[in-house]
């Protein structure tokens, strides 16, 4: 006997297993043939292959793993007692529907296809009473309906309809009939569903509870099967866990003994644990933080540097900071609107410089408006390249003068390479010279003359360092009276950064009027409000040295730096040190002090205790409540700050807690 297959020979060879097996020992075909719903059907053909009849066999038995057919009896049961025939047997397990079952349906409240009567095992609905008349019409109730009553029922087979058949008759489309029944629909849906749901039973469900739910559902015209299913679901399911860290074996944490667990039909299937690797959900915004974003700083104090071209009325303008650096953000967010004071303007530009040729000689007050995304300012302060503040721009000078302001040549001075000092004389018409603008000199003040510019040496430490580097002895310092000192233009301060070239210009660099930090000549201290730029050399001043010995040098003083206190949720500890000293932390001492003999630049630094980046270093303050910052802007942690001091002063360090 040949087993019939629809596979083509090539596919059959590839897919066929080597050995024969009993179908349905496990897996989705479980159980093997012979289950209650299984049956044998045979088709009878004549010897020419013409189909004659088909029927279910009632004469087969299952013995010792074999299916025993009594073909002769099958034929005789259908009345075939003589002749030659062909026969084909089919071993069938229904998946959905039934060829022998019918149901009676009715319309309830406009809902058609409601089951009135049928096999409860199939429908899950108890059978209703019905009557069938002589013509085969079915009605609700045991008696024929009265005249005018509409109690008719539809008789429907418990089947699914073939909706369409492909032209090659290999594919069909099935649709359900209008039978509003959960089991009927589920069976249809399960035709293509390869999943089996299993709920472990956590606890036994009392039968009286099920019975009560069933009765309640009937009384409330609800589907009792759904009510029972809900009770089962409420008492089912539970946690599963793997039996070990690397185990693929899972077990149910709670399951009653009456729950048999997985059955043979589920063998060789897959257990899908949904969301097994999901521990939490995070909302990820579809925007990214701009890590380079900084809160915009306000516009710094600026001035306009004017450079006049000789013999022309052309003037170049450059916006600079008070520190002498060029202010040129060069981004679209910052725009400049130049007005040259003569009525001419320049369209808004991102350039912080401009050039304009005036039509006629005259005095002008040029200005520039600076616009940033959040700030705006009008800048009208004018300065020459040497730093001298001028109130107006006189263009006639541009034509006639050969300004030394525009010189880029170094100044030839006999004092170049020497250290000079003030002789201390304030005999009229002299006064106290200024070390730097606004800062009075003392006889202890020292300047190093570099390319004709006097550079104030801000601390005794730096003075000694300079002496050592340049081989300049103290007895070789050149003593000058005030007027001569004032005639030497002021250059940039010599600080610690001068030696390391972190704050240029260095000592070996050629200084010109364009060099950063060039201030120019200064007047006597206290001669003007600003303390500078009004004491430029006076032609009437006698160059003879004065004879007065007055000395306005300041006396000794002490600088105190108070460490940041450790206050929970407010401030954290700090570490502070004077230049050249080791750090002292809050836990070591609440403050450090250092005496100084005379006015000078004092250098110190601070930082937060502990790991970098945890507690932010906020800087130095003049008061313990941290309301008055000592520096604007505040230095970063570990950055050395230089400040000129001539009297005792206390700085309070603040470190905010990072938690």
């Amino acid at each position: 006997m040949r087993v019939q297959t629809d596979l083509i020979q090539e596919d059959y060879k590839q897919l066929k297993k080597e050995s024969k097996e009993v179908l349905g020992l496990d897996g989705f075909l479980y159980p093997p043939f012979g289950a209650t719903q299984d049956y044998v059907e045979f088709h009878i053909f004549d010897m020419s292959g013409n189909f004659k009849e088909r029927s279910k066999s009632e004469n087969y038995t299952l013995e010792d793993g074999k299916i025993v057919l009594n073909i002769g009896q099958d034929f005789r049961d259908l009345g075939y007692n003589r002749g030659n025939y062909r026969v084909r047997y089919f071993f069938i397990r229904p998946n959905a529907g039934s060829g022998d079952e019918i149901v009676l349906t009715k319309t309830v409240d406009g809902n058609v296809g409601q089951i009135h009567s049928g096999n409860p095992e199939l429908t899950g609905v108890p059978m209703g009473e019905f009557h069938v008349d002589d013509e085969g019409n079915a009605f609700v109730g045991l008696e024929p309906p009265l005249e005018g009553e509409s109690l008719s029922l539809d008789i429907k087979e418990w089947k699914y309809q073939i909706n369409a058949i492909s032209s090659d008759r290999k594919e069909i489309s099935l649709i359900p009939q209008i039978i509003d029944n959960v089991k009927y629909k589920d069976n249809f849906r399960n035709l293509v569903d390869d999943k089996t749901l299993y709920y472990s039973t956590k606890q036994d469900i009392p039968q009286d509870e099920i019975a009560e739910a069933y009765q309640n559902a009937i009384q409330n015209f609800q589907n009792p099967q759904e009510a029972i299913a809900q009770i089962i679901a409420d008492n089912s399911g539970g946690e599963v866990s793997f039996t070990g860290p690397d185990s693929t074996r899972i077990e149910f944490n709670s399951r009653v003994e009456s729950d048999d667990g997985f059955d043979e039909k589920m063998r060789q299937g897959k257990v899908v644990v949904k969301n097994a690797y999901i521990t939490e959900y995070l909302t990820q915004p579809d925007i990214k933080e701009n890590s380079s974003y900084n809160i915009e700083d306000p516009i710094p104090e600026l001035y306009i540097e004017i450079v006049k071209s000789p013999d022309t009325r052309v003037v170049d303008f450059q916006l600079k900071t008070k520190e002498g650096g060029t202010f040129n953000p060069n981004i679209n967010g910052v725009q400049f609107y130049w007005e040259f004071g003569c009525g001419h303007k320049e369209e808004a530009t991102t350039n912080s410089n401009a050039s304009h040729e005036y039509d006629v000689d005259g005095n002008y007050t040029p200005s520039v408006y600076v616009f940033t995304p959040n700030f705006s300012d009008e800048i009208s302060e004018l300065r020459t390249p040497t730093g001298r503040v001028v109130d107006i721009l006189d263009t006639s000078l541009a034509v006639n003068q050969t300004s030394d302001d525009t010189s880029t040549e170094e100044i030839d001075s006999v004092f170049n390479g020497k250290i000079i000092r003030w002789d201390g004389s304030t005999l009229s018409p002299q006064g106290i010279p200024q070390s730097i603008p606004g800062q009075q000199s003392t006889t202890e003040s020292r300047w190093y003359v570099q390319d004709g510019y006097r550079r104030w040496i801000g601390s005794s430490y730096n003075l000694n360092l300079l002496r050592n580097l340049k081989g300049l002895l103290a007895e070789d310092d050149v003593s000058l009276y005030s007027i001569l000192i004032n005639q030497i233009p002021v250059g940039p301060i010599i600080g610690g950064g001068t030696f390391t070239n972190t704050t240029p210009p260095s000592l070996d660099e050629t200084l010109t009027a364009d060099s950063p930090g060039i201030v120019g000549t200064l007047g006597f201290y206290g001669q003007d409000d600003e303390g500078g730029n009004q004491g430029e050399s006076d032609d009437d001043v006698d160059d003879d040295p004065p004879q007065d010995d007055n000395d306005d040098d300041s006396g000794p003083f002490t600088v105190t730096i108070v460490n940041s206190p450790i206050i929970a949720n407010e401030t954290a500890g700090s570490m502070v040190a004077f230049y050249g000293d080791n750090y002292t932390s809050t836990t070591d001492s609440d403050q450090i002090q250092k005496p100084f003999d005379a006015a000078q630049i004092v250098s110190f630094k601070g930082k937060a205790m502990g790991a970098t980046g945890i507690n932010p270093f906020m800087g130095f303050f003049d008061d313990p409540d941290f309301t008055q910052p000592s520096f604007t802007p505040q230095p970063d942690a570990e950055d050395l700050v230089d400040i000129f001091l001539n009297s005792s002063r206390t700085f309070f360090v603040k470190v905010e807690t990072g938690f």
């Binding site: 024969k20 009993v22 179908l23 793993g65 074999k66 025993v68 034929f75 007692n81 594919e171």
Partner: protein, 109 residues
């Protein structure tokens, strides 16, 4: 003169003719069984059908279904009248080979 069924059953001639046919029928059956090696002779010379007898077939190989000569419309239940099928059958590999080899997509529907 035609006879009713009851009269026919009472007819000696008919009964003798019927017995002759039955004897002939059984003889032919026995010959076929001998040819098919399904008959076993016991020690007391009784002839029985082997329990593992193969289905009875004619020379052309067609299965012969034999009616019980003593009961109409009833087939014999001897072992050579039964077709025994092994439950083991050819089986096939499934995923992933199944879908790789066979085109299972719907074409028209």
């Amino acid at each position: 003169m035609p006879l009713t069924k009851e009269e026919l059953q009472k007819s000696e001639f008919y009964q003798r003719l019927k017995e002759q046919d039955r004897a002939k029928y059984l003889s032919e059956l026995e010959q076929n069984r001998v040819l098919n090696d399904t008959v076993v002779i016991t020690e007391d010379d009784n002839k029985i059908i082997s329990s593992d007898a193969q289905p009875l077939r004619n020379e052309a190989g067609f299965f012969l279904a034999v009616e019980d000569p003593y009961e109409d419309n009833t087939n014999l239940k001897d072992p050579d009248q039964l077709i025994k099928l092994e439950s083991k059958t050819t089986t096939y590999v499934y995923d992933p080979y199944w879908s790789l080899i066979i085109d299972r997509d719907f074409k028209e529907l």
